[in-house]
Symmetry: C2
Subunit: 252 residues, 2 copies
């Protein structure tokens, strides 16, 4: 049984493409937010209750909508919807990149990390194309390669995958690269506007700044060179290299 | 200049205690959510605009409220409020633990990680006490020790700190331990209820399950033994150890 979720909402073309991708490999249960939850990271809903409904059922697919976030959807699936633990969790296909530091903000990857915390092989897919009608055929093709590897060999303990696909036709994709998260930062430029009562409000905008200097082992390099990038992501955020030097803080 | 934020909202006792903690070390600018944003992780607001207002100003402290998340507050401070980059970012003092895997869900630590992505020394503080009127004196005392170290020596590049304080009187605290994030998971139990029209809704509840087996180098161990825990947190989520073994996926 394969659990499918996303952060673009249950009606996005990306999640329908993801269902097509994984349908050949087992029964599929979709539990995903009703509406868009971009940038929701690993957020959970604690101040209001959440609800879910079965929306449709066809072939080997059941589709549930959830009022919560992507991570809520995974938690609710485990706790209230699925008859047993899923064999695999997939999230996406996101409309837009989740490479480099975007993994930190991504609701798509929030759901994947939640699966990983619960020791279930989990993979997030993103296509570098924001078009609601984007062409997901390369993502489906390479995604199936990756799914087959994961279903056959599993993943290392406490590791999940962040897969990004370049916005080119399938025949232009040069293959898959397993790589590291590029260093970079989103530079924000809040756009100030005035409401009809002259009150100021701000829209978040910004651009990605790549801090790598030509390194060829990063996800950003792979994508710029038309490779599918696969970054193994861990759920232990400890910076082990820093522990020794920081022991001076202990004062003993 | 020190930027202060939190996820319990601008009125929480925790953030007022944090201002007291850092006020001796420089000018303080508070930019924090108006209302509670627990469990918001690294969420950003992209679908609606956000606003902020100067709420009060006294001694060397300015306090701004923001309608967004903790991470929005940091981004807005950088982009629209602060006259220059802050020397330090502190977040909290959270009412409740952010040890072990809770770092992933924490809005307090979301703000800290955002500071770290922007190369500013950043520290998150949490007290293991949900009481709105909790006693923050031990947190202030040990927090000042840690702040002094960070202001003097800085932090390693791309590393921030997750500080948790046990819920005991200051004289019972045994000192500071620099440690790693304990392995564990939140086991969810959604509580099903019926609304007045008989519709089902679910409240997220759960309990933390520690997956360590007596290891003494974790934050959970330190806290159980009345030490203040300090975990260095990194913003590169790559699992470097997994890259080689996963290269089989590349098919080349």
């Amino acid at each position: 049984m394969i659990l499918v979720t996303n952060d673009d909402g249950i009606e996005a073309k990306g999640i329908r493409s993801l269902v097509e991708m994984v349908k050949p490999y087992g029964d599929v249960v979709v539990v995903a937010p009703y509406r868009v939850h971009s940038g929701k990271s690993h957020a959970i809903t604690v101040e209001i209750p959440i609800r879910y409904n079965l929306l449709k059922q066809y072939e080997n697919v059941k589709v549930y909508g959830c009022t919560g976030t992507p991570v809520d959807s995974v938690k609710l699936a485990f706790s209230a919807i699925l008859p047993r633990r899923p064999d695999l969790i997939v999230s996406g296909i996101n409309h837009g990149s989740n490479a480099s530091v975007s993994v930190v903000y991504s609701g798509t990857m929030g759901a994947v990390i939640e699966g990983c915390i619960n020791d279930i092989p989990s993979v997030g897919f993103s296509l570098l194309d924001f078009d609601p009608d984007a062409d997901f055929s390369a993502a489906i093709h390479y995604g199936q390669n990756i799914i087959e590897h994961v279903m056959e060999d599993g993943l290392p303990a406490r590791t999940c995958l962040n897969v990004n696909v370049p916005p080119v036709a399938q025949e232009q994709v040069r293959g898959i690269r397993v790589c590291r998260q590029a260093r970079g930062v989103w530079r924000e430029e809040f756009e100030k506007r005035l409401d009809p009562r002259k009150g100021e409000y701000y829209w978040l905008t910004g651009y990605f700044e790549n801090h790598e200097n030509g390194a060829t082992d990063t996800d950003e390099w792979a994508l710029e060179n038309n490779f599918v990038s696969v970054v193994p992501i861990q759920v232990d955020f400890t910076d082990y290299d820093a522990i020794e030097s920081l022991k001076r803080i202990q004062n003993d």
